[in-house]
């Protein structure tokens, strides 16, 4: 009985993250039907694994971890492409993310401030799936440690992926702004 009550309480708290999970799922799958199914499968898996959730830890990060693992194990496998590459996966020769994408003058900076939603979405969509995930998890307020937990990698890897992804976004948006 107590276990059921605990599970129900966890479920109610987990539902508070449905919007955030669906947003990431939508950007990963890039269509509404798959995003809904991915979120539903994520909650189904979380429900089955609810006894393994450690109270006091970050439930949101735990759910994102399940969602990403579900996406990797099911969606990518079914689609037959383990990784979708994007603008951020290739390091331009002679440059790294610290040097990339800085706008040349205030006019370009001003244009960046006026890019529209479709352009930002297009730039994000051109990133690799992992880069998209890191950017969106960062926007959700997860710490780099929590993002590393979700992605199953080191914190340093998160830092470099995020820097590279933001550099790719800056470059793409700079092109749109011209």
């Amino acid at each position: 009985m107590a276990e059921d009550a605990g599970r129900a309480a966890l479920g109610r708290e987990a539902l508070a993250y449905a919007d955030a999970l669906h947003n990431l799922a939508r950007y990963l799958t890039q269509n509404d039907a798959d995003a809904e199914d991915l979120v539903q499968e994520t909650y189904a898996r979380a429900l089955r694994a609810s006894s393994r959730f450690e109270p006091g830890t970050n439930l949101k990060a735990w759910l994102f971890t399940i969602l990403r693992n579900t996406f990797v194990s099911l969606y990518r496998k079914r689609r037959g492409s383990p990784v979708v590459s994007g603008l951020d996966t290739v390091e331009p020769v002679g440059l790294d993310s610290a040097d990339q994408g800085w706008l040349l003058d205030d006019v370009e900076l001003d244009r960046l401030r006026r890019v529209v939603a479709e352009e930002i979405a297009k730039a994000l969509g051109a990133l690799s799936e992992d880069a998209r995930t890191v950017v969106l998890l960062d926007l959700e307020g997860l710490t780099e440690g929590e993002v590393a937990q979700v992605m199953g990698c080191a914190v340093g890897t998160v830092k470099s992926r995020l820097a590279r992804a933001r550099a790719a976004l800056r470059l793409a948006l700079r092109d749109y702004a011209r």
Binding site: A18, H22, S73, A98
Partner: protein, 288 residues
């Protein structure tokens, strides 16, 4: 510190994630480097574009209801002793391309329960389904847990606000007659923390004024309620105005509590404590 080093730390600097020493180094460099100042402006503009203009795809009401129904049911694991694969999992492992098959099958299977849930959700506010509503004034840690749960109710509810307005002169009068105290909140919202609206809530056995502010994509809940009889929680001391408060975290949420006269104030959000503190200072009237 070189320009290259500074630029690698810019995002963390702007998010307040650097150690004090490293942050000082970055600030010192920025003060004398116009190129890195521009880089910081670019990072800020990119963050602003992502936070304010990137299209958001929230879960549909129908999906949320399905999830609520599914979670409320006795689990497959409990019934059979093992976790049965869902249709989606099965389809995937069999190599089926039917991505949406699980959703459609589940929808059909859950239709009767879904209909009942829709009626239930229409008649009863989600908050009323949650445990912990009744109860006596309690120990400090439970107060923190209670205000976090109240914040989660705001996040989970389809209609969390009884009065939706960014105008404090509409929101504050709305509480008149609905509470047996006047929630003194000096802050009307601004560009960084816009006021979204208000609602009635409860903290344990007493009514609370619920004011909801935004901060970029985040929701911040302010609860104002009578403090009498509540045991105050432990936490890091944090002064708000002339009041002594405490800052703590619970289930990944930042919580800032303080008392002002007979009233208690609680701010809860998934933003960091520093951001929450800036809002508290405005509410407490110590920041412009």
């Amino acid at each position: 510190m070189s320009c290259r080093d500074v630029r690698l730390h810019l995002v963390d600097h702007l998010r307040g994630r650097l150690s004090d020493a490293l942050d000082l180094e970055v600030r010192a460099h920025l003060a004398g480097c116009p190129a890195c100042q521009r880089a910081a402006a670019v990072e800020a503009a990119l963050t602003e574009a992502l936070e304010e203009r990137l299209p958001q795809y929230p879960a549909s009401v129908a999906l949320k209801r399905r999830l609520a129904v599914e979670w409320a049911r006795p689990s497959v694991e409990t019934d059979t002793g093992e976790a049965a694969p869902t249709a989606w999992t099965t389809a995937a492992s069999a190599g089926s391309p039917a991505v949406g098959a699980h959703g459609r099958r589940l929808r059909r299977a859950l239709l009767p329960a879904l209909a009942a849930a829709i009626v239930l959700l229409a008649l009863v506010p989600l908050a009323r389904l949650w445990p912990g509503r009744a109860g006596s004034p309690a120990a400090g840690p439970r107060l923190v847990a209670e205000v976090v749960t109240d914040h989660l109710r705001v996040l989970a509810s389809q209609h969390p606000l009884d009065v939706q307005s960014g105008d404090a002169h509409q929101v504050r009068p709305w509480f008149a007659g609905r509470l047996d105290f006047a929630p003194a909140v000096a802050f009307d919202g601004d560009a960084e923390f816009p006021l979204r609206g208000g609602a009635l809530g409860y903290v344990f056995d007493r009514k609370a004024a619920v004011l909801v502010y935004g901060h970029r994509l985040h929701t911040i809940t302010l609860l104002v309620f009578p403090a009498a009889g509540l045991e105050w929680p432990q936490g890091s001391p944090r002064t708000v105005g002339a009041s002594a408060g405490v800052a703590t975290t619970e289930r990944g949420y930042a919580v800032l509590l303080w008392r002002q006269g007979p009233l208690a104030y609680a701010l809860v959000s998934d933003v960091d404590l520093a951001t929450l503190g800036r809002l508290a200072d405005r509410i407490g009237g110590t920041a412009s």
